[in-house]
Symmetry: C2
Subunit: 591 residues, 2 copies
């Protein structure tokens, strides 16, 4: 492979695996693609409903993105497409700029997907994947749980056959309550029936199929087709009994064919307004996708390239934006199915795209009589599995700070919607982090008798000097704890006390930022005004290099000692002898 090919291969992993592709892999990938396609059709339609878009948009969002991921992705089993949480975020964002059902709504969704894609590409090229670290696990877990509840609640109007609205749980609950008397019973019968059927299949269909003689794996995969079965059955019901005339809401006419390919209109004020929500969607989608990919990769001892995944998801979303879709990411359930069905390379995703494309070209007329209640029922059953009460309980037991961030996220989503929820969680967890960092662990230290070691006076029986106060601060010194550092040092030498030397033991300090440097300079000045000298000991190499670039080493009233032991010998020689054995000198205070 030439150097140029290597460079291209770096950003397009397909060039690395495609040359080794063979017939055995093709057979496995093809089978997996058929199974995933069957599962993906109802999901795609349903998630389009969550996003507030016509059903075909869900199919379109499962074609081009899958092909792009096959070219740029590093996971062998990740299946990309619309997912519940991202669809909900899409609806929340797009709803701020256009009314549902209008052409403007669909075009804002396209622009949003395109911008999400550009944001992901930019993060990938700049290697900024670490931004995903901002979202702590409790925030993500709380966010997904709360989104699951919110989505289920938002779909209840389709089950009840009423018009209800709202961006948060309170509004939705209130609106549903107000419309409850208008419940449409035939619709409710279909919706509740499908929910019951899907819950039943979850625990009972697989054992039944195995009882009929099917092997374990095919039985499990066939169980995954239950939503498609529900769709076919309810379409039949509506067609036979003309339920549309009875007032059951149906999907109606859906265009036949592939989506038009077009760049979204460039409208700078709109794009600028979409940038913030797009960043949030990009980061959450990325985190969700990467954790799925990593879980599956670990089972096969494969590795995921985190920066390349940003590029792959970026390309997928750009593709969704130019080919009739909305924001997409790697989905958990469909990726597991793809994995279990035996997908061996990203080509399985490309084959799935072909399957969905065929569905878009030939099957959409069959969806005319599909009741919206059926789609809502599949959504409700799917998203309730996202709700993880155990995680809330475990987090509460383990860490109150993490629980607080999680609770803020959940209540934020319920009370103010998805974006406010995530932002509340992120801000609170950074606040809690800085609050904790503002008081690092520190200890007054003394000499362990007969050794050169200095330890916490509270935990060890050590020798100290009345004229020398030594403190060890365990952690980097930076803006959040600069004030603490200054106070800690100056409070060691109270006015009129015997302390003449304050020693900062820097053995656990890996960096000192400019704010902390100011704090050290200020402490040095304040101590010096009281006639007390400040010394540093055990300063690490990189920290010393930085200090040399400042004027602190000229200003410091005391000295920089290589070791704490050396410092104590120099500052209170009567008490601390060179050989490490302390003098029996409690008699003479050194000051």
């Amino acid at each position: 492979m030439s150097d140029v090919m290597k460079l291209i291969g770096k950003y397009a992993p397909v060039l690395r695996w495609a040359p080794r592709y063979n017939r055995a892999a093709l057979a496995d990938d093809f089978l997996a693609a058929v199974i995933v396609t069957i599962m993906l059709i109802p999901q795609s339609l349903a998630y389009a409903l969550i996003a507030g878009l016509p059903p075909e948009a869900g199919l379109y969002a499962s074609i081009a993105p899958l092909i792009l991921y096959a070219i740029f992705g590093t996971s062998t089993s990740l299946a990309v497409g619309p997912v519940a949480v991202i669809s909900l975020m899409t609806a929340a964002t797009v709803g701020d700029f256009a009314a549902r059902g209008t052409a403007g709504y669909a075009s804002v969704a396209l622009a949003l997907a395109f911008i999400v894609g550009l944001v992901l590409l930019a993060l990938g090229l700049l290697r900024l994947g670490f931004l995903a670290n901002f979202l702590s696990h409790p925030i993500i877990s709380g966010f997904i749980t709360a989104s699951g509840v919110l989505i289920a609640a938002s779909q209840m109007k389709h089950i009840l056959g009423v018009k209800a609205e709202g961006d948060n749980l309170i509004e939705i609950a209130y609106s549903l309550g107000a419309h409850l008397p208008a419940t449409h019973l035939p619709t409710l019968a279909i919706g509740a029936g499908v929910i019951a059927f899907l819950f039943w299949t979850r625990s009972n269909l697989k054992p039944l199929l195995v009882g009929w003689g099917l092997k374990d794996r095919p039985a499990a995969l066939l169980t995954r087709a239950a939503p498609l079965l529900a769709i076919i059955m309810t379409i039949a019901l509506v067609s036979i009994f003309r339920l549309e005339d009875a007032g059951v809401a149906i999907v109606g006419a859906t265009p036949k064919g592939l989506p038009p390919i077009a760049l979204p209109d460039f409208d700078w004020p709109l794009w600028r307004a979409l940038l913030g929500p797009a960043l949030l969607i990009a980061v959450i989608g990325y985190v969700e996708s990467v954790s799925v990919a990593q879980t599956l990769a670990a089972r096969r001892r494969e590795r995921i390239d985190l920066d390349q995944e940003l590029i792959a998801l970026g390309a997928s979303n750009v593709a969704a934006g130019v080919a009739g879709g909305f924001p997409v990411t790697g989905g958990f359930a469909r990726s597991v199915v793809n994995f279990d069905a035996g997908a061996r390379t990203p080509a399985a995703g490309a084959f799935t795209a072909v399957g969905i494309a065929i569905a878009a070209m030939y099957l959409t007329p069959l969806l005319f009589n599909l009741p919206k209640a059926t789609l809502a029922a599949t959504i409700i059953v799917a998203v309730l599995s996202l709700v993880d009460i155990g995680a809330i309980r475990r987090t509460y037991a383990y860490s109150k700070a993490d629980f607080l961030a999680m609770a803020a996220t959940i209540l934020g989503v319920f009370g103010f919607g998805v974006e406010a929820g995530v932002m509340a969680g992120v801000i609170l967890s950074i606040l809690l982090l800085l609050h904790r960092a503002s008081r690092p662990h520190s200890a007054i230290v003394g000499q362990v008798p007969g050794t050169e070691h200095f330890r916490n006076v509270l935990r060890h029986d050590v020798i100290t000097s009345p004229s020398v106060a030594s403190v060890r601060i365990d952690g980097d010194l930076f803006f959040a704890n600069a004030r603490f550092v200054e106070d800690r040092l100056t409070s060691l030498a109270p006015d009129g006390g015997p302390v003449r030397h304050v020693v900062l033991m820097c053995s656990a300090i890996n960096s000192i930022d400019a704010s902390a440097l100011d704090a050290l300079e200020s402490a040095n000045r304040r101590l010096n005004e009281n006639g007390v000298l400040l010394h540093l000991t055990e300063v690490k190499g990189p920290v010393m290099d930085a200090l040399k670039r400042s004027s602190f080493l000229k200003e410091i009233s005391g000295k920089i000692f290589l070791s704490e032991f050396e410092a104590m010998n120099a500052l209170d020689p009567e008490r601390f002898r060179q050989n490490g054995a302390p003098a029996q000198a409690a008699a003479s205070p050194a000051s």
Copy 2:
């Protein structure tokens, strides 16, 4: 003193010092008050101009707040009132809600001061002063420098006698350039003359006065009265030569008397919109004020109570909001003058308030002919001393990360205005912090021969085992480095290698949050799938207590060892003997 009085005294320090107040302190405080009053009159008028308010608002903002600070403050020399940077932020905020010169503008400024006061009171009562730690020193320093330049630029229109506008440096420069041909020469002559006079007095007036036989301190204090002299001289010029008729802009009619006392109108949408800017003004004002107070307190070995200062500044701002002012804080120059003039208690501030009140009642008619160019000139000379190029250079030399945050702040202020500048700096410094925290220092460790110590293999000549990989991570484990921790642990045991045990040495870990716990669980699972066991050693007490509340200790494939030495003895007994002396056993690989 009864317990109730102690409680009141806790929140009103005046009750602690007032009973001991005596005639000597009164004399000192009175003299200081006279000097500060003379200095404060032109400053108050000028800062009202920056804030976009009529001049009397500046006087009002220097009456009630000073009295409230005297009751609640803990600094003996801090002088509270309008300051340049806060006035600029006030203008930027209020300008978003009302047009300059309208009654609405003044009432939004009142509401803003009131809300700033409530925010400070809330922060004080909740003891949230640590929030000020968010603003690193380079951000504050960069912000003040940039604000100084921005203020000077914004006042140039008064010097040139033209109408120019803009919220950021680019807009102002562009607008000034466009209006330059319309420069009003008589106005320019006054403005440039006052600037030249004030710069001349800075370096030459004090030596001249000393040459005339004055002592050093009175000469220095008299020099501070130069702006008042400039005001008197230019009023005289305008009056004598009827320069108003020549087109010189003057202050004009100013109401005589004290401000009306009234609660600001409660307008919830407005208050909600003002909350964000108010928080920023509160925090920046607090940080500026506290650093002045601490600097002066250190010179007299006094202490400032940081939470009480929040309450005192909160009460001062609430007072500004109900008594005709705008947001205030402790100012540097006037506090130094107060200190140098010998103020001994906060009563000096109360006396100053009386002085300003007398000025508001009797002197405002004299201000009719005051040229705006004179005020602008005093502002320009005052704020250019805020510009600290040396700090930029020192920060660049010391830390590139801090410089980046500083540069973002300065460029943000120049390009987008004050709020955007601070937010850019804060966000960037938190990003840089999390980026650094996402890769904590870590080291593969081995046994120092003949001891029970384990040290970095890269720095010491130590003994390691081929079947056991030990890593020490230096820092708390939390969401920002959770992914790093997982990768670090799993990468220690590459597929097919000899490593059978991975040991995490926790001696430098003070806490593990829920995200990092997930990462440890995930690393444990991934290692275990490859047949590798994960062990922990030297887990600190509080960390162990937390782990006991999770299921990790049940899930972990390996053990928790008290010490690294004990772990190595158990995991590779042939190599590490109980007595601490290693076996000569490079011959037999342990796996």
